[in-house]
Amino acid sequence: MSAIEPVSQPAPSPGSAEPLVQVRGLVKHFPLTRGLLIQRKVGAVQAVDGVSFDVRRGETLGIVGETGCGKSTTARLIMRLLDPTAGEVRFEGQDITALTGSRLKAIRREMQMIFQDPYSSLNPRKTIGATIAQPFVIHGLLEGKDERKRAVQELMETVGLNPEHYNRYPHEFSGGQRQRIGVARALALKPKLLIADEPVSALDVSIQAQVLNLLRDMQRQLGLTLVFIAHDLSVVRHMCDRVAVMYLGRIVEIGPGDALYDFPRHPYTGALLSAVPVADPTLRADDRELLSGDVPSPANPPKACRFHTRCPKAQELCSIEDPPLEDKGTGTEAACHFPLSREEVAEIGVRSAR
């Protein structure tokens, strides 16, 4: 894919064509139980239900979707913070879903996560120096006190924090600076994979751009592979080489950002892109076609195509047969029996095409 920026990555081990992460048929169901003492299983929230994709080395893969679509659960499954119900996650070719103990710990060192809320993801009783040094402590690296301090201060400088603030506490920092602390902590072990789960949605507009630029700079410098999860489609467009759109636990469309935003094929992608308010009054859309209703409950998702209950193009087939995710010939793969045409994309008021 030519969209991928050349990165100054230290030459990856042999077989670099192999994706860094391969997700295959990933499923996560959270059981719903009833009863106080004897808990009976009465159903399951199908948070992630059969998701397959690759994360290529050095790219930024965006995952977008609305609340409850399973994007954060997918991230936590890749990190093995949750155990999948079925399916596998391969990291550098190795299935990590069954790893335990020291082998799991070794893999975890290669992947790090940045969280949404910079206020609750830092321990208020620890100095930020101690917080950023924590990965070294956990993995028993850089035992010397001075050595560790120097490493932490170098990290702080890299993410744009004043190294002299080593001994300060989180409450002394603003939201944007706290997110920088989170980035420094995540980069401490030089991970190969960084997962950012809504890293800027709690930040003010003027600060958001600071953190986005930091993540892009870090990626270019360190050759990181980034999985970027967000609900803001403009931010995802800015950050990502490829984008996956999720709806009710499934990927409905995936492809290069340019192709997906220029010509969305899945009606849900089209609906999302036409719903985004655009910061340009001359492009004001007076009669957009709006999606009606709300996202159905993931505990009881619609049969076959999960979008058919809200889809403006749904036919009888959509409620009978589940459409596979397949190449639609315009750059993206979409799971739809009746993908959007160029005319329809213009009609529903998608304003993301350049």
Binding site: K190, N213, P277, L290, D294, R354
Partner: protein
């Protein structure tokens, strides 16, 4: 021009706290004409919410010190006794808040809460109030309103709760609706539904709307006029078209250059505003934005800019100490893709005096990272 529906004049709102006096709103003036939509944009702590709560008298119980005038159809709401203000609040001016879950009481049925709202302002029978509640739920697009009227808030989705809140605000067909971040907690497809609903209701009922948001996309879609707030003040007001096409204040430029565009792509470069918004207790001297402004000059730390009309655009005001002609040249440079530094050099403006806020250290130059490289072995 006819008398505006709402005219806020030199409004100040202060709170006395243990740490000092918080100058939440610091002398703002704006107008809303009947049937129009004003968008108030600002970041957290810019005073946009406090200003609107004060319009409804909702900051009175919190010990706020309020001065200035809020003229609603000629009556000054600041001076109005509580009992008279209560007749205005919810009746002629109504408000919709950000979080629809915490604005509805979880114990009571949605319909019951609507009936209470109807009966608070109108002397009608319970049956008639219930009829009105059902009618309102239908008006805001809740399917099957005669059944839904007996639902509890937890049985509604986020979007439906916000519709119910809007229904409650519409009980008495207010002339002015204040919507404070009405869609911030909602998903993008639901946000589009709620914004479309507000536009439809405005057309049908002819009410004026003040929409408060941090989202430039939302104001661009909704507002006729826009006011940009920073540190308790309005720094720029203009029609929506002018605000996006020819903004005059460096803070507005900073906001517009900070957001990625939906059609922007990977190559688009963002220019963040350096530093962080100031504390409203210890505000910077002079122009409150000068510590973060890439175009600040030495005397900007001393002189307090006033909101003044911009040349050739009668309804466009900005509070900036730079000359209008210079600002236009700067914006033209920025519009052609220059960085603030390049724009400054192009127009021959000296670099701003050093200030710690402006030197939020950028990420280090590209190259081999300086971080530790522990050997990783599996």
């Amino acid at each position: 021009m006819t008398e505006p529906l709402l005219r806020v004049e030199d409004l100040h709102v202060e709170f006395v706290t243990e740490d000092g006096v918080v100058h939440a709103v610091d002398g703002i003036t704006y107008e809303v004409a009947a049937g129009r939509t004003l968008g108030i944009v600002g970041e957290s702590g810019s005073g946009k919410t406090v200003a609107s709560m004060t319009t409804l008298g909702l900051t009175r119980s919190q010990g706020a010190r309020v001065s200035g005038r809020i003229l609603f159809e000629g009556r000054d709401l600041v001076a109005l006794p509580e009992a008279e203000l209560r007749a205005v609040r919810g009746n002629e001016i109504a408000m919709v808040f950000q979080d629809p879950l915490s604005s509805l009481h979880p114990f009571f049925k949605v319909g019951w809460q609507l009936v209470e709202a109807v009966k608070a302002h109108r002397d009608v029978s319970k049956a008639a109030a219930r009829e009105r509640a059902i009618e309102l739920l239908g008006l805001v697009g809740i399917p099957d309103p005669d059944r839904r009227v007996d639902s509890y808030p937890h049985e509604f989705s986020g979007g439906m709760r916000q519709r119910a809140m809007i229904a409650m605000a519409l009980v008495n067909e207010p002339k002015l609706l204040i919507a404070d971040e009405p869609t911030t907690a909602l998903d993008v497809t639901v946000q589009a539904q709620i914004l479309a609903l507000l536009e439809r209701l405005q057309r049908e009922l002819g009410m004026a709307i003040v929409i408060i948001t941090h989202d430039l996309g939302v104001v661009a879609e909704m507002a006729d006029d826009i006011a940009v707030m920073y540190a308790g003040r309005i720094v720029e007001t203009a029609s929506a078209r002018h605000m996006f096409a020819s903004p005059e204040h460096p803070y507005t430029w900073g906001l517009l250059k900070s957001i990625p565009h939906l059609a922007g792509g990977r190559e688009e470069e963002l220019t963040p505003i350096p530093g962080t918004p100031p504390s409203l207790i210890h505000r910077p001297s002079g122009c409150h934005f000068h510590p973060r402004c890439p175009y600040a000059q030495p005397d900007h730390a001393r002189i307090d800019p006033q909101l003044e009309p911009v040349a050739d655009e009668p309804h466009h005001h900005a509070a900036c100490l730079l000359e209008s002609q210079l600002r236009r040249r700067l914006w033209a440079e920025l519009g052609s893709g220059c960085t603030p530094e390049q724009a400054r050099e192009a127009v021959g403006l000296p670099a701003p005096p050093p200030h710690p806020e402006r030197h939020a250290p950028a990420a280090t130059a590209a190259g081999e990272p300086s971080g530790p490289v522990p050997e990783v072995g599996l």
